[in-house]
Symmetry: C2
Subunit: 328 residues, 2 copies
DNA sequence: GTGAAAGCGCTAACAC
DNA sequence: GTGTTAGCGCTTTCAC
């Protein structure tokens, strides 16, 4: 086997407990002794076994990060940032994909529980009730979801939606279509609320909301035909993928974007930046969300369970998929 | 704390070792006893502590997966597949990002070592020598890299490159440009070799190779101006991102794709599918690679360290970024 | 300031 | 077939 604390102790000529102290409570040990221990450790290439120390301390120095679909371009920047920040704080992170299945999600939490100090749940598919129950046993942070008593990182998509609505109104659009996301999606609900709110005092503007729509390009293509039927000239899609799909569907049907119909996405993924026309989209601060989630989680862990919330601002980036409403 | 094997033992009225056996070696225990144990376990919601058992068995049931950049669209499908397959086999996976930095990569391996049974290194930036040395201490599988004595999953990019060359020749292109990847990239080297090989007996065709290029859209934009200088009408880029960048750069310079210059990418990422024109690209079987890597790793772990290789076929998908060579 | 000893949750001989 | 015991690598009282 690899080198253990015993080997270090032997080489340094001290007891194992002294080595342990030298590593994790240096002030409790004589400077000279500590030096000898450290030298011995370096010489042997000693690395403490985190799993072993977890057994006594109850701290694994591991985190779980559970997402619905790693391959969905929304998640990778968040995962990357979370993982990078965790590394800075000397934590490792288990990344797991639920394939949008709440049962897998719950199972994953169960099997991960003993090996982590806490879990970040990104846009979970689990019910609030389940999350509340589980959060009694393990610190959680949810991203883009609000659950009583559970720390959360929220990207203020409502604000972004308001921006998108204003943008379209400014371009002269008077008939708007909001393509909702999957049933039960928190952010979709926020978008709907915000869009309604923004139009409350505008009785010259009509808002149509359709859904649920699959959060994918295919979902967007399927939704495209509804655009024509709705008569809307301004469309806000649940996410970039859906927006890209809508544009694709519209283009196939001979409808030009943005000349005849303007489309706004959500997320600001690579996909949207690469699409032609380049997508006007609501920017979700995913890297910041990843960092904040880990930060909050570590606070929750250290702070002994007080829940907190971080709200992150969204913004609108105007590119090529939106333009002036067609005359008439 | 949570429920332990002791609680189960107490409830079932047996010794802890019997519980342990009932869980991991059921055939060694009386059917009736096992039943009682299982019932007790279920009743209490008992979950074995993997970290604790790892202490005695030496098996953590965890894997490490180290990639250069989670946010690069090449990786997520691989990560997703690896993680899903690992879950089926009752393994959890630590995912870590090195930011293309070999030092971080090595450090990560070091800190992960004690907590995993093996590590998958995807397109590592580490030197062969380092990998060989590290592989003495821990089972590894490398993806798209060949290191003596280390199991590997190879995507046969050489074959794909041959296909791309043939495709361009068939379209009448006689002056080809290969945009190499980062220095030290195994797959870039394979591509160069294959391209040269494919043109060995064609002295009517000229091949120019330039590089290294950053494996990003920006790298591609930067490379675009070299295309004009080379006089090439057919370009094979190191990956989709570079291809997209080249097209962007070319377009800005007023060069039309594919009418004047044809561009082939590598990877078949979402990005390429979404790009306009849609990218003709060499398809990398990334999900299969993720699965195979985990499979090989588990074999290596169980089999006690014999190394093996899996080679995965690549193919070419023709879309809109390639076309007949311009006359003249 | 350092050593001795007990114990975290679990497994693996070894008895019986 | 089951209980006893020791021990994995580490931390944490408790003495001295």
């Amino acid at each position: 086997m690899a080198v253990t604390i015993r080997d270090v102790a032997a080489l340094a000529g001290v007891h194992v407990s002294t080595v342990s102290r030298a590593m994790s409570a240096p002030h409790l040990v004589n400077a000279a002794t500590r030096e000898r221990v450290m030298t011995a450790a370096r010489q042997l290439g000693y690395r403490p076994n985190r799993a072993a120390s977890a057994l006594t301390t109850g701290r694994t120095h591991n985190l779980g990060l559970i997402v619905a679909d790693i391959a969905n371009p929304f998640f990778p920047p968040l995962i990357k940032a979370a993982q990078a920040y965790a590394r800075e704080r000397e934590y490792h992170v288990f990344v797991a994909d639920t394939d949008e299945d709440p049962q897998i999600e719950e199972e994953l939490i169960g099997t991960l529980a003993k090996q982590v100090d806490g879990v970040v749940l990104v846009a979970p598919r689990l019910s609030n009730q389940s999350i509340e129950r589980l959060s009694l046993e393990l610190p959680f942070v949810v991203v883009n979801r609000q659950v009583k008593g559970v720390s959360a990182v929220l990207m203020d998509i409502g604000h972004g939606t308001g921006l998108a609505v204003e943008h379209l109104l400014g371009l002269g659009h008077r008939r708007l279509l909001l393509l909702a996301g999957p049933r039960g999606s928190w952010s979709s609900a926020q978008m709907e609320r915000a869009a309604r709110l923004a139009l409350l005092d505008r009785d010259d503007v009509e808002l149509v909301i359709t859904g649920p729509n699959a959060p994918t390009e295919t979902g967007g293509i399927a939704a495209a035909e509804g655009v024509g039927r709705s008569g809307a000239t301004g469309v806000i899609a649940y996410n970039d993928l859906v927006a890209i799909g809508v544009i694709e569907g519209l283009t196939r049907a001979g409808v030009r974007v943005p000349e005849e119909v303007s489309v706004v996405g959500v997320d600001d993924t690579v996909a949207g930046r690469l699409n032609r026309p380049k997508l006007t989209t609501i920017v979700m601060p995913t890297p910041a969300a990843g960092r904040s989630a880990v930060d909050l989680l570590l606070q929750t862990i250290d702070g002994g369970g007080v829940s907190a919330q971080t709200s992150l601002q969204t913004s609108l980036v105007e590119r090529e998929s939106t333009g002036p409403a067609p005359a008439g």
